[in-house]
Structure formats: structure tokens, C-alpha cells
């Protein structure tokens, strides 16, 4: 089995975050026991996510620990042997008028409570409506911020001295496909921006190639979902860039009939 390709499918992340089906869990756990590399990868993912979770730490109120112990003691869980007996005091004989008076008081209190409760309920409903609105605006802002970050990053790269922009257009069989290369010939950095590539079939992956002196050279695997620029392999010279569809994990030479976009320099 190609361990690297398996890791690159993202199933291990899905497993650690708890979103695998029972079948997938069995599969992952089997591979963990067979391949130390997969085991280490899972441990690293888990450690990173645990660290991430720490960022939101908040100290609970000091009395909560005692409450937990009382809950456990109350259920008889902390001391299984201990039998808890409840003493029920004997009800005293009481005067009837006292009972009547307290019933009246109770009725008054109950109707007051009902009145206040309905007031409180309607206030609560209003708050809920306002919170839904707030949520909507917050999510809009989030979307805006993300697209702003995308544009800012692209601008920063494009403004570097020596950066060339190469538009890779769709080939005959994929006329709608589009991707752009930002290539800085001074730093040799190559950035890829995917504009439009078809959804990837199961078990496949896009791969970028640089054509250097007429021969294709691997320039890295493409993350199709990445909205931002992705950094690819460095090149000091190239005459063209192209993307092909390859088996998971990439190939050592391109499958030319599966070329999606190409751009000459």
C-alpha cells in the first residue's frame, strides 16, 4: 500500500476529528496497527488538535469540583458500599386555617409567577430573534473577510519585483478550466491559483508540471479546494506550466491525454 497516498486523502484527519463511519474506523485502526508511519501521523494530528482546543481554555467556577463530588456521592458512585438513608421527619398536626391561608398565598404567588413568566418568555423570544440577525451579519462579515484575505495575498505576491503571471487556459477537451501561475524568476518561487478545475474523480489528484527545455518536471500536487495561493516547487527556468490529472500521490511523468490546462511563457 502507498502509505503517503493514504495519508494525503485526509481520512486520518477525519478519523481524529471523529467523523469516520464504523467501517472507516475499522480500516484506519487496522492501518494504524500495520504502518508505524500512519500511527505517527495520527498521533501528530491528535496532538495538534488538542493544542488547538487548549486555546479556548476557561477556568470553571471554583465550587464546581465539589458539586461533582456531591453528585457522585449522591448517586452512591463514589462510595458504592455506603448506604444513604433519608430521615423523614414526621408531619406535625397543623391548624386548618393556617393551611387555608397558605393556599391563598400560594395562589397569589403562582399567578404573579405566571404573569412574570410570560413577560420573560416574550423578552426571551425577542432576544433570540435579534441573535439570529446578529449571527447572519457575523457570517456575512466572515465571508467578506475571507475573500479580502484572498485578494490581499494575491496582490502581495503580484507586486513583488520579478513576478510573472502566466494564465493557464483549458485544453481542447476542458475548455472551461482555468488556473494562474505567479512565478517570481528572482526568488524562483512558483505560486498556483486554481480558478476552475473539474471536481476530482475518486482516487485521482491534480499535478502541476513545468516544461523545462522541452521535458516535463514535477512542480507539485494541487489542492483544488485551496482558495488562496499555493506554493509549488521552485523553478529557475521553464517554458510552460501545465496541470494533468494523475493517480493519488502523483506520477513521475505526466499523463498527457489528461491535461486540463496549459500556459506558455
Amino acid at each position: 500500500m502507498d502509505v503517503k497516498a493514504y495519508i494525503s486523502t485526509g481520512i486520518l484527519e477525519t478519523y481524529v476529528m471523529g467523523h469516520c463511519s464504523p467501517d472507516q474506523i475499522r480500516e484506519v485502526e487496522e492501518f494504524i496497527s500495520l504502518h508505524p508511519e500512519i500511527k505517527d501521523e495520527v498521533a501528530s494530528i491528535r496532538l495538534a488538535l488538542e493544542s488547538y482546543a487548549m486555546a479556548f481554555s476557561k477556568t470553571p467556577p471554583a465550587d464546581l469540583k465539589d458539586k461533582i463530588w456531591s453528585a457522585l456521592d449522591g448517586e452512591g458512585l463514589a462510595h458504592p458500599s455506603k448506604v444513604i438513608s433519608i430521615n423523614r421527619p414526621q408531619a406535625k398536626q397543623s391548624n386548618n386555617w393556617l393551611v387555608a391561608a397558605s393556599l391563598v398565598l400560594f395562589a397569589i404567588a403562582a399567578s404573579m409567577n405566571f404573569f412574570l413568566y410570560s413577560k420573560w418568555k416574550s423578552a426571551e423570544r425577542k432576544i433570540a430573534e435579534i441573535e439570529i440577525e446578529k449571527e447572519y451579519f457575523a457570517s456575512q462579515l466572515e465571508v467578506q473577510n475571507t475573500s479580502l484575505a484572498v485578494i490581499q495575498e494575491e496582490l502581495a505576491v503580484m507586486q513583488l519585483p520579478g513576478t510573472k503571471m502566466i494564465v493557464m487556459k483549458g485544453t481542447e477537451s476542458h475548455p472551461g478550466a482555468l488556473a494562474t501561475i505567479f512565478w517570481n524568476t528572482e526568488s524562483k518561487d512558483v505560486f498556483l491559483k486554481v480558478k476552475n478545475l473539474p471536481e476530482i474523480p475518486q482516487g485521482k489528484q491534480y499535478q502541476l508540471w513545468a516544461i523545462v527545455d522541452g521535458a516535463p518536471v514535477n512542480a507539485g500536487l494541487v489542492a483544488i479546494e485551496e482558495q488562496l495561493l499555493q506554493k509549488m516547487e521552485q523553478f529557475s527556468s521553464a517554458q510552460a506550466f501545465a496541470i494533468t490529472l494523475e493517480p493519488l500521490g502523483g506520477s513521475s511523468s505526466p499523463t498527457l491525454e489528461k491535461m486540463y490546462v496549459i500556459g506558455n511563457i
Binding site: 485526509g10 491528535r46 493544542s51 479556548f56 477556568t59 464546581l64 457522585l72 479546494e225 482558495q227
Partner: protein, 187 residues
Amino acid sequence: MNHIRGKAKYSESELVNLVQSGNRDAFNALYDNYSPALFGIISRIVSSEDTAQDVLQDTFVKIWKNIERYDNSKGTIFTWMLNIARNGAIDSTRSKHERNKIRDTDLIVSIPEEQGSEMNVDSMGIREVLVTLKPEYQLIINYLYIKGYTQEEAAGELNIPLGTVKTRARTAILRLRELLKEKQVGR
């Protein structure tokens, strides 16, 4: 997580063994070590402070009751406890229709905000790292890991295809790992 395990007087496996044998001190230590992290997560899922406290209490009652079932070959004690806490929190919001979506923006870590008293000292180092993790990456981890949305639910919330949810989650975690490695935090 040196900042957690480093100050503990037991190693993680000793602690778990002691709790499994019914040792109260060990359970107290487990609570002291992990309750802030768990309370933080719960507080991000439910909206009221009272509910969050109830869920945390329930979580530790369940931990004590079920500690026998914890199997260290399937993951760390923290991940195991986090699942209990997260499920408890999600259940409480399902019963109360109060799943808290509002706090998505709170969850994004940005520079000077929220260094107030409620923040735990342990979380400072990691927050400094998260500041540099792109908001879209924080969001995807928040949905899938912190808030426990399914991949389908996260796709709906973020309005992106299901395939993108999966691959973006992987990219996000890879970036997170790189950042943690650079800063030597969380290991």
C-alpha cells in the same frame, strides 16, 4: 502539551490507572488538569454559562462512571474526555434548541482581544500561534472539531462542497502543525 502535563504530579497513564482504580486524588488531579480546556470547549457550544457548568459537571460524572471503558490504544485521555464533553454539550443544545452559532466569530483568534481575566494562562502560548492561522482554517477546525458538526453540516454552514470540507480540513490541520512546530508550542 507540556503546559498541561508538565505541571501534573502524575504521568498521564499513571493518572488514568489511578482513576480507574477509584482513586479520588487522581480524579481531582484529572479535573484540575483538564477542566479548563473542557469548560472552554463546552462554553463555545452552549450559550448560557449555567448550562455550560451543568454540562461540565455531567461530563466529569460520566468520566468517573465510564473510565473503565477508556482504552489508551485508541487515543489520548484528553480526546476521550473531549468527546464526552462535546457530545454532552451538543445534546444539551439539541434538547434546548440553542445550538450556538453566534460565537463563530468569537472563535477566531485575533491579536489583542480577550486577554482578560477569564482566559486561562495555559492557553496564551497557543493563542499566539493561532493568530497566524488563517480564519478560514480556524473556522473549519472549529466546526468539525470544537463544535462537532458533521462534515455535511459544516458544508452547509460554510456554503462549500462536501469534498472541499474534507480537503480544507486536512490543509488546515497541516498548517496548524507547521505553525506549532515553528513555535515549538503544544508538544
